[in-house]
């Protein structure tokens, strides 16, 4: 058994950027969980649909990539509001079963509709961070810069900056706007929120909207790493995101991001040491997915509220 330290920074950079994407999707999960204590199992498929919207707008209609992303995020937000209003609001949120069934049904429908329209082949979507601008001293066809003797991809930097920006904007929305204040109030105490005049339904719709937009962002950022978009692209990402959300604490927004990043790092380390060296390259992805499952179990076993969960998780 040999430890290959040379490639470790590469993998850590990789893990950090994958992790940032998991964090983005985990954030989408947590935004809805925080307000309703529900897990939206259609999060991944909604995000996938958003990525396909970008595909249509950018690759097929030739719109500027970033503009396509903004439009797609806005459209997914609208879809989120629509789903909340028509499919989940009629149900008592304290009864989890119906809403979980609804999100599972949505999962099937969205996946199948996307499969019917675009079939299940991988379609290339341009990388928003393909090449460095010309003024950056880079190597490897403008895709890398050298840090600690290893290659730091433009893509990774781009993902971090984008996520940081998105988080900053989310923070502004939640902390500086009235709708954000209402959202935090509903997440904290639904009944009292009603008593100060907050329309809880609309506010939850707002949560769904932001969550869907974040999911779409995550899907677009992850697409280049998967070779492109396809209807099943989010299946494993969602599991990692769930692990990240559980690890960070299902009701902590910051925890979701950090949890997602940690999961990405754990995955990277498994690839470097567990995957590549011990178990052989071929099976690394298998181990990684199992790791997500183990992370969830261990978190629940030792720290059910997650690393950063604020609300006391009730023992039964």
């Amino acid at each position: 058994m040999t430890w290959n330290f040379d490639i470790l920074p590469d993998f850590i950079f990789n893990g950090l950027s994958l992790g940032a994407i998991y964090g983005t999707v985990a954030l989408a999960l947590v935004l809805i969980f925080k307000a309703t204590t529900l897990i939206n199992f259609a999060t991944g498929e909604l995000a996938m649909l958003g990525a396909f919207l970008v595909y249509v707008l950018h690759m097929e209609q030739g719109l500027w990539l970033w503009l396509s992303m903004l439009i797609a995020m806005a459209l997914s937000a609208g879809l989120g509001i629509l789903i909340e209003r028509s499919l989940t609001r009629p149900f008592d949120p304290s009864d989890h079963l119906p809403v979980v069934l609804i999100t599972l049904g949505l999962f099937l429908i969205l996946n199948a509709v996307a499969g019917d329209i675009w079939n299940y082949q991988v379609r290339i979507l341009s990388n928003p961070f393909g090449k460095f601008p010309s003024w950056v001293p880079s190597v490897g066809g403008d895709r890398f810069i050298e840090v600690f003797g290893s290659r730091l991809k433009y893509q990774s930097i781009g993902i971090w900056v984008t996520l940081a920006l998105a988080l900053f904007i989310l923070g502004l929305i939640l902390n500086k706007t009235k709708a954000g204040l209402a959202f935090r109030a509903v997440s904290s105490n639904v009944e009292s929120a009603r008593l100060v005049g907050v329309h809880t339904g609309r506010t939850l719709g707002f949560g769904w909207a932001i969550a869907s937009a974040f999911g779409t962002l995550g899907a677009v950022l992850v697409a280049p790493q998967l070779g492109g978009v396809n209807p099943n692209m989010m299946a494993t990402i969602l599991i990692y995101a769930l692990a990240g959300a559980a690890l960070g604490g299902l009701d902590s927004l910051g925890g979701a991001v950090l949890g997602g990043i940690l999961v990405g790092l754990i995955q990277a380390v498994l690839v470097t040491w567990g995957g590549v060296v011990v178990f052989g390259q071929l099976y690394m992805s298998i181990l990684q997915l199992a790791a997500a499952f183990v992370i969830i179990l261990i978190t629940l076993l030792f720290r059910p509220s997650g690393l950063f969960g604020t609300r006391r998780v009730e023992r039964v």
Partner: protein, 472 residues
């Protein structure tokens, strides 16, 4: 027709008679299935029964304990792979593997369930979703000899098909062409029956009552000294071991298992079956299993041209149809088919419970509509409708269209219910007339309902017996 057509006291002779009719139908259905169906259709029936057992397992957690278990595909997979490996690599007999599979399923259930069930909320859903997603890739792990035992990405076949030993060949259907699948059908029916019996008893036991109490009022159950994490985890583990048993049945029936058979989509199928059948109803599992397998089969054959676009059930959209069914049922029929059935049955017949002293809690005469009763008329209409629907169904059967075919089948089945109900209501009404509770005008329709209903019923029985004798 708001008032029920028949009112009987629980456990009275008439109530028993109704129950015999019910059981006769169940027996007829079970007996005829291996006789009249094609071998590949029997295979589907087997598949439906196996799904039924797995859905029952899910129901134990979701329906009876109020927790969300969404990953039973993994337990089925574990059961199936353990079975395949023990049969193929170790030459065990299937019946020797049953306890092994049950124990393995139970232990894994404890490992997965305990962390998640210690805390309140959706955590079990979280863990089980992940479990379902991860399972198919686990069987490919090269280390620890796992892939060698599971066959890795290629799957694992059991080289010897399960066929009837000579002393079982007298079982209906177990000879000639259908032999193998019909024999497996009988084995599966036996296992299903035993499982249902055990689960029913379990739910009536002390532990089972605790499980139900948690579902109905978690805080209340805790106050009465129910140890919530332990009871929930045990229940989940029992459910997991039943799920594994379904996996064993799967392996025995198909003779081949692969990781790709036990994906998240199978888990979703189980949930759909549960909702379709009926959350919290024992029969729900079987009904759901039948529907998932047969509806899946149907949607695959649907092809509706819509102008430029053809809606093809064969492609990805089959799943969308299932998703739609799931959402529609959640909205409009949260109790599933079983509760819809109950609504219909309650329209037809009301069973009045007994007081501890053995008397009906409300005198049956309170339900008697008296002289204005229209029951005889309704019964007469039903007795006529049965044969008419049968004839229409027969005619439509020759139209070569899938949807019409399904409709025709449904119409023909109508007589199964209409004929006996008409017969029994007719004779009830005649008795009421003899007591002076009905006008003379009711006598004609009642007699007709009784006669026509009896003929229809005889026809159904005769037809079943004829099919039985003919094919046996």
């Amino acid at each position: 027709m708001s008032a029920p057509l028949v009112v009987v006291a629980k456990n009275s002779a008439e109530h028993k008679r109704w129950q015999y009719v019910q059981w006769a139908y169940v027996a007829g259905f079970v007996l005829l299935t291996p006789l009249v169906l094609q071998p590949f259709e029997i295979g589907k029936m087997n598949r439906a029964l196996i799904m039924g057992v797995a859905i029952l397992a899910v129901n134990l957690v979701v329906g009876f304990n109020g927790m969300l278990a969404l990953g039973h595909s993994a337990f089925m997979g574990i059961g199936a792979f353990v079975t395949a490996s023990l049969v193929q690599d170790e030459n065990w007999d299937y019946w020797m593997i049953v306890p092994v599979v049950l124990i393995v399923g139970f232990l894994i259930g404890v490992v997965v369930g305990l962390p998640a069930l210690r805390v309140k909320g959706l955590y079990l859903a979280l863990v089980t979703i992940a479990q379902a997603a991860v399972f198919p890739s686990l069987v490919n792990i090269d280390e620890l000899g796992i892939a060698a035992r599971t066959g890795g990405p290629n799957g694992k076949g059991v080289s010897e098909e399960v066929i009837a030993p000579s002393y079982w060949e007298w079982l209906p259907g177990v000879d000639g062409a259908r032999g193998g699948s019909a024999y497996r059908y009988w084995v599966i029916v036996l296992m299903v029956a035993i499982t249902i019996l055990l689960v029913t008893n379990y739910l009536r036991s002390r532990a089972g009552r605790a499980v139900l109490a948690i579902r109905d009022n978690e805080a209340g159950a805790a106050v009465y000294g129910v140890n919530l994490p332990i009871v929930k985890t045990m229940n989940f583990a029992i459910s997991a071991s039943i799920g594994s048993l379904a996996g064993l049945m799967w392996c025995m029936d198909k003779g081949f298992v692969a990781g790709q058979d036990f994906t998240f989509l199978l888990a979703v199928d189980l949930i759909i079956g549960l909702v379709l059948g009926g959350v919290g109803a024992i029969q729900g599992g079987l009904v759901g299993g039948l529907f998932v397998v047969w509806v899946n089969d149907l949607t695959k054959r649907i092809s509706i041209p819509l102008g430029l676009y053809t809606l093809n059930g064969d492609g990805p959209l089959a799943k969308a149809i299932f998703g739609l069914i799931l959402i529609l049922f959640t909205f409009f029929a949260p109790g599933g088919i079983v509760s819809l059935g109950r609504i219909i049955v309650n329209k037809l017949i009301k069973v009045v419970p007994l007081t501890p002293a053995g008397q009906p809690i409300e005198p049956l005469s309170n339900f008697d509509p008296g002289m204005e009763s229209t029951r005889a008329d309704v019964a007469m209409k039903m007795s006529i409708a049965g044969p008419v629907l049968l004839a229409v169904g027969w005619l439509l059967m020759n139209v070569n269209n899938l949807l019409v075919g399904v409709l025709a089948f449904g119409l023909r089945m109508g007589i199964l219910v209409l004929a006996p109900v008409a017969m029994l209501v007719g004779s009830n009404e005649l008795a009421a007339h003899a007591d002076g509770n009905r006008p003379d005008s009711a006598k004609g329709p009642a007699t007709m309902a009784r006669t026509l209903g009896a003929l229809g019923f005889l026809f159904v029985i005769g037809y079943a017996v004829q099919r039985f004798v003919l094919t046996y």
